[in-house]
């Protein structure tokens, strides 16, 4: 009996602590486990008893790489409970902040963490020896994403200027205009980046996914929209719990999400892009077409190029917002708490991030539930690995290359394991 395994004890170039084990028997895959051993931190438990105003700063600490996503989903949930709508320039500033996070997160992932897989390096620093211009371009692009966050919200990790209802202080027009020259450079850089990323060598691996993303009537989604899929889902975010369940498996401190009616699904850049291509500005669509990236893109390895396109979109969107910016009269809308349950769902760089809170009359949290993107993708990642390994065996792929490409396949999802371990309450379980 031949029995082989692919085992990665500690995945590198991802956020947080995870490992991989794939068992094969007689040239068939018999088990795939993406193991998440990031220790639990119990956010949903200690959020109970906190004031609604403290929540965005606390949930930001779930993830150092996408804190804005946590702040935004928390704020929207609290505002929905209070019946407050944040619009006009305050809404634009929130989009601008999200642009900053997408730019820095996508530039980090595509060039510093994922591109080395495609080009055969252990990291971006080694890659810089042979491709110095590319790595310097990526670092500068990332920096200008961070510049938006620093200018608008104080710092790039755990920004301090986001509050329920808006901001503590809004920037002057001049403060934002000073970003424009660098963002114009970034627009050219992002186009170059797309060209470089679209030209990488991609393994053949087309899949039939159920993509889930937000969809807004006229915007490429950041903060708002309905939850839709390519297989018939079209719901208000408040109905999330009726359609999705989480399952606790023994080998992971993150819970697996599934659609109740079907099964696993796919969130993140590929999902957003395939479902919202028509909402991109024509300038971005044109670049996509020039690089043969029209939707649907169903090869997860090509998500790296789609991240490049989303980076270009985020830079253009940031420029659009800044050019039309006039400081609003007040930095925030007053939010008076009341008892109730509210929902927030926004597009983190790696996919939808759902929050649900129940408050009492004084705005104290009675119950919190957080569903991060990586836990939603876990099952899809495992399915990809299963199929990819079987495909590799069938084509006699060499074992080391297969093992290496499995790690690369996990990075297709830009997994944020630190996030995913924070901690979903179960409605359902399966053993």
């Amino acid at each position: 009996m031949s029995r082989k395994t692919i085992k990665v004890d500690y995945l590198a170039r991802v956020e947080g602590e995870g490992g991989l084990s794939i068992k094969m028997k007689d040239d068939r895959v018999v088990d795939v486990q993406l193991r998440i051993f990031e220790p639990p931190r119990f956010f949903e438990a200690f959020l109970q008893g906190r004031s609604f105003m403290e929540v965005p700063d606390i949930t930001a600490r779930i993830c150092g790489i996408c804190p804005v996503a946590y702040q935004m989903s928390s704020c929207h949930a609290m505002e929905s409970i209070a019946g407050v709508q944040v619009d006009g320039m305050l809404r634009e500033l929130r989009r601008l902040l999200y642009c900053g996070e997408w730019i820095e997160s996508h530039a980090l992932h595509t060039f510093m963490l994922h591109a080395p897989d495609f080009l055969g390096y252990p990291d971006a620093i080694q890659m810089a020896k042979d491709h110095p211009d590319l790595v310097k371009l990526a670092l500068r692009l990332k920096k200008h994403g961070n510049d938006i966050m620093v200018r608008l919200a104080g710092r790039e990790i755990h920004p301090i200027n986001v509050r329920v209802g808006g901001f503590y202080r809004v920037p002057t027009r001049q403060e934002l205009l000073s970003l424009v020259d660098d963002l114009k450079w970034s627009r050219d850089a992002a186009r170059e980046a797309v060209e470089a990323l679209a030209g990488l060598p991609f393994p053949e691996f087309e899949q039939d996914y159920e993509y889930v993303a937000l969809r807004h009537p006229d915007e490429y989604p950041f903060n708002e929209g309905r939850l839709v899929s390519n297989k018939g889902l079209d719901i208000d975010i408040a109905d999330y719990d009726q359609h999705f369940v989480e399952v606790h498996v023994a080998y992971s401190s993150a819970l697996h999400s599934r659609l109740k009616k079907r099964d696993n699904y796919h969130v993140g850049p590929l999902a957003r892009y395939n479902l919202n291509f028509d909402r991109l500005p024509s300038s971005v669509k044109k670049i996509a077409k020039a690089h043969k990236l029209e939707p649907p893109v169903n090869n997860p390895f090509r998500s790296i190029a789609v991240r490049g396109l989303e980076t270009l979109f985020a830079v253009e969107e940031a420029l659009r917002i800044i050019e039309s910016y006039e400081p609003p009269p007040l930095p925030y809308v007053e939010v008076v708490p009341r008892a109730g349950t509210g929902h927030g769902c926004t597009e983190a760089p790696r996919g939808i991030l759902y929050h649900r809170y129940t408050l009492d009359d004084n705005g104290i949290v009675l119950d919190a539930r957080i569903v991060p993107p990586t836990s939603q993708n876990q099952k899809t990642i495992e399915n990809d690995l299963w199929r990819f390994v079987e495909q590799g065996i069938a084509t006699n792929m060499e074992h080391d290359l297969l093992a290496h490409t499995c790690e690369q396949a996990i990075r297709n999802y830009d997994p944020c394991i630190s996030c995913s371990t924070h901690f979903l309450k179960l409605d359902f379980e399966q053993v």
Binding site: P122, A128, K143, N146, E156, I157, H248, E429
Partner: protein, 258 residues
């Protein structure tokens, strides 16, 4: 060929990854840092590894499992200098809020199958388990302070990281006091400097993410807040965030148990 670069290792325990991400956020300096040291272990950034000993280990995150107690002891043995980066490693982090509750209740609240979860009752700082050469504060750390600490250790000098309060940063930066002018509750008087008075610059009170300054007087600040109408529960919550288990904040917060 005889120039051997010092070996740098970066370790993660319970955390959000933000402090080690600060290294990658040094976009202008990253390639220079990578030139000055050998990055021997830094899984968030590289899949390459080289063997111990390490000249300097940066440690992010708090200790929350039995396995991690053993791991930090091994890291200590293999490191000439060990520096903690951030509030989790230095004070136990936001996850130390379990230290004021029963972690079994927390596990049941979050997980359907609590028996799958292995965790300690308390989240503790690295210095509770091994000797720490330097503790860099902040949630997250200030990346320029991180570069200063690296620079200092690589050159055998003491890091220039002032331990005075955020108030000093406001005064030096010409920032009007938000507590005095707006009556905002501000932890600046007892909070360690390092952020550059970020929150007051953005018109809000400091929320203490750098933890206690050297010799703080939290009792006096809390009494002042109470005299101005804050409720004991609000005082307690203000002290119980990212550095809740740092002794001065912890002790004062316990004075306001309801």
């Amino acid at each position: 060929m005889t120039d051997k670069k010092p070996k740098l290792a970066v370790w993660k325990f319970a955390s959000c990854d933000g402090c080690q991400l600060s290294i990658l956020d040094c976009e202008d300096e990253l390639l220079a840092v990578a030139d000055a040291v050998e990055i021997a272990y830094f899984p968030e950034a590289t899949s390459a590894e080289s063997p111990p000993p390490y000249d300097i280990s940066l440690v992010e995150g708090s200790i929350t499992t039995e396995h991690d107690i053993k791991r930090i002891q091994t890291i200590r043995k293999r490191s000439k200098a060990l520096v903690t980066i951030g509030a989790c490693a230095t004070a136990g982090g936001i996850q130390a809020l379990r230290n004021f509750a029963d972690v079994r209740d927390f596990t049941r609240t979050v997980y359907a199958r609590p028996e799958y979860i292995r965790t300690l009752e308390k989240s503790t700082p690295i210095a509770d388990h091994v000797f720490v050469d330097f503790e860099l504060r902040g949630c997250p750390v200030n990346k320029y302070q991180l570069l200063e600490v690296l620079n200092a250790f690589l050159n055998g000098r003491k890091p220039n990281i002032p331990a005075y309060s955020v108030c000093v940063e406001c005064k030096r930066g010409g920032v009007a006091c938000v507590a005095v002018t707006q009556g905002v509750a501000c932890l600046g008087p007892i909070t360690h400097a390092g952020c550059g008075a970020l929150c007051p610059r953005f018109n809000r009170g400091c929320y203490g993410c750098f933890g206690p300054m050297e010799t703080p007087n939290p009792e006096s600040l809390a009494d002042w807040w109470l005299a101005h109408g804050m409720q004991p529960a609000e005082v307690q919550r203000a002290l119980r965030t990212f550095n809740a288990y740092a002794e001065p904040f912890r002790k004062e917060s316990e004075r306001h148990e309801s």
